[in-house]
């Protein structure tokens, strides 16, 4: 009753059939799971529609227009088409692994939605106190699916795609996990609802405290999902389609669904941790006014808008930037993102320490409360925001200095350098102006 108090319309008829415990721990979660799986599947389907529309708009085209008004039924038509297509299995493929790889991909993407707080109260299935850890752990199982799919296809391009994706996801996983730690220092909890509540009680979005962390999380999230400009595992011009070259029909579309679901997961985690989740100013007045369910629904809508904005950034980046070279990809992952995530952790630790040290120094008051995350006064917030913004530039400048050689990594120049070593003095093979 504590969890689902406001919706007691359904509770009384259910109570005739089941005990209160069964309703609280079995029936309600099942209803929630059914709703969320349906809605998320629909959302994922319409993410493909949006992707096609936005890419079309960016290229001054119209995109899907023929099925339904403005092509709104296109995802459903696509799904039906894929369901009726042949489920082809290559002759020498590892049949069972080939069968199961797409399911692993989809499951690892969809399980994460069990802890994502879509809204307060009944809009979250399970408020686990290690929610963020679960998100990171489960979503990284998705790598396994890609490796297995690439391996079991028994095809060179699929295997290369699987290898690339595993290398890429393993290296960006580190940066992704590290970039979240800064925000956790303020929230002081791993529960996603707890993080939202901490931001709500501090009445701030952590993107202001942690601009560097937000950027790092977004970049590594894009790389983690194998999205352009980091879509090397499925680089069309090099690997046909990467790990899902041999897949067709519904199995192929499961990989597609997994990709878009993983995008939604990363954007919802980013929205939860950095953009305040479902929390929005003035929405709390609905709760105070007694409209509890309306408050929950409005909060869910706020959350969806925030996620959609981040999803739009995904699409926007994909249709703007060309694909990275593989060495550049690893360069960004290991030489830029991981060190800057470490620097970000150090800086945010310093900032938290500074704010606590300044509290009470010469009558300065920076901390309001510590019981629900780090609640700062206006002075504390200003200090935090200044340090956070400065941190972006400090990190970038520091790394630009450290990586100044690798920035101009150019095989052509290197080859010329090597060749010039043995050239006798006064007779350069290549004149300096040409280089």
């Amino acid at each position: 009753m504590l969890l689902f108090g406001p919706i007691n319309v359904l509770n009384d008829p259910l109570l005739r059939l089941f005990s209160q415990e069964t309703i609280n721990f079995f029936i309600w979660p099942l209803i929630q799971i059914g709703l969320i799986v349906t809605l998320v599947a629909l959302w994922v389907a319409y993410a493909t529609y949006l992707e096609r529309k936005i890419s079309a708009f960016i290229q001054a085209r119209l995109g899907p227009m023929r099925v339904g008004p403005w092509g709104l039924l296109q995802p459903i038509a696509d799904g039906l088409k894929l369901l009726t297509k042949e489920d082809f299995i290559p002759e020498n493929a590892d049949r069972w692994i080939f069968f199961f790889a797409p399911y692993i991909a989809v499951a690892s993407a969809f399980i994460v939605f069990s802890v994502v707080p879509f809204g307060p109260d009944w809009a979250v299935i399970a408020d686990v106190n290690i929610g963020l850890l679960l998100v990171l752990a489960v979503s990284s199982v998705g790598v396994l699916a890609l490796i297995l799919a690439g391996w079991s296809s028994n095809y060179k391009y699929a295997l290369l795609g699987g290898l690339r994706s595993s290398a890429q996801m393993v290296s960006y996983e580190v940066a992704m996990g590290l970039s979240l730690i800064g925000a956790l220092m303020f929230a002081r909890t791993l529960s996603l609802s707890g993080i939202v509540a901490a931001q709500g009680s501090d009445s701030i979005w952590y993107v202001l405290y942690q601009p560097a962390g937000f950027l790092l999380f977004l970049i590594s999230g894009i790389a983690e999902n194998n999205r352009a400009p980091f879509d090397l595992p499925e680089a069309e011009s090099e690997l046909v389609a990467g790990f899902h070259t041999e897949y067709s029909g519904m199995r192929w579309s499961l990989f597609f669904m997994a990709e878009y679901a993983a995008m939604v997961v990363v954007s919802s985690v980013a929205a939860t941790v950095y953009l305040g989740g479902w929390y929005f100013p003035f929405v709390h007045r609905l709760e105070a006014g007694g409209y509890h369910n309306l408050f929950v629904i409005v909060s869910v809508l706020v959350f969806l808008v925030k996620v959609s904005i981040i999803l739009y950034i995904y699409f926007w980046l994909r249709w703007t930037l060309p694909r990275f070279r593989y060495d550049q990809l690893m360069d960004i992952g290991w030489k830029w993102l991981i060190p800057s995530a470490l620097i970000n952790i150090a800086l945010s630790a310093f900032a938290v320490f500074l704010v606590q040290a300044l509290n009470g120094w010469r009558g300065m008051k920076t901390i309001e409360a510590l019981d629900r995350g780090l609640n700062l006064t206006l002075t504390g917030k200003v200090i935090m925001i200044v340090i956070g913004l400065a941190g972006v530039f400090i990190t970038a400048a520091l790394l630009a200095r450290i990586n100044w050689r690798s920035r101009d990594f150019n095989l052509k120049t290197q080859r010329r350098n090597i060749r010039l070593v043995n050239v006798p003095k006064g007779k350069p093979a290549v004149s300096a102006s040409e280089v």
């Binding site: 960016i58 703007t320 930037l321 630009a400 010329r416 350098n417 010039l420």
Partner: protein, 177 residues
């Protein structure tokens, strides 16, 4: 010791790279296109979306476009304007027009005369290059190349238009959605 002189980046170039100005410029360009497409206003030149929804919306062809041929008729009497002078067939560089005329007896001012009238008009659109020299040559503004552009047929024989097709227009399936 550096063996190759690489040009050192200037301060403005360094700052540009540091703040990723080029990346932001590119993102701004794509955003401009996207917003232009949503509002259907100018992104670069003219309009936001260049796609034509062809069967639904008929495209506006250029005024100088030459399409399917037509034999015009007198709007009042519905007699053909063609006087079977054969000038169009002579003018045609591809030799794709055949004018077949016949002589009919008519009585002009009480005397029997013979008049050349049009019997059949063959226009081979498969060889036509739509230069409109026939239209230029026609003394009575009868033969005209219209703006109609749907000329595809299922057989080679379908490209050869006879007099009826030229006068009435060819029947095509019109897709409206």
């Amino acid at each position: 010791m550096s063996l190759v002189k690489t040009p050192k980046p200037t301060w403005s170039q360094k700052l540009k790279r540091f703040f990723m100005i080029d990346l932001i410029k590119g993102l701004g360009l794509t955003l401009k296109y996207n917003l232009g497409a949503i509002t259907d206003k100018d992104a670069v030149a003219g309009k936001g979306i260049y796609t034509e929804q062809y069967p639904k919306v008929r495209p506006d062809v250029a005024p100088r476009f030459h399409g399917a041929p037509r034999l015009n008729m007198d709007p009042e009497t519905h007699d053909t304007l063609c006087i079977a002078c054969n000038l169009c067939a002579v003018a045609c560089p591809e030799d794709c027009i055949d004018v077949i005329a016949m002589d009919v007896e008519i009585i002009v001012a009480g005397k029997p005369r013979r008049k050349k009238v049009l019997d059949e008009f063959i226009f081979d659109t498969s060889r036509c290059m739509f230069c409109a020299l026939c239209q230029e040559a026609c003394p009575t503004a009868c033969l005209e190349l219209t703006q109609e552009f749907e000329l595809a047929t299922y057989s080679r024989a379908g490209f050869v238009w006879n007099r009826e097709m030229l006068e009435q227009g060819r029947e095509t399936v019109k897709y409206t959605r």
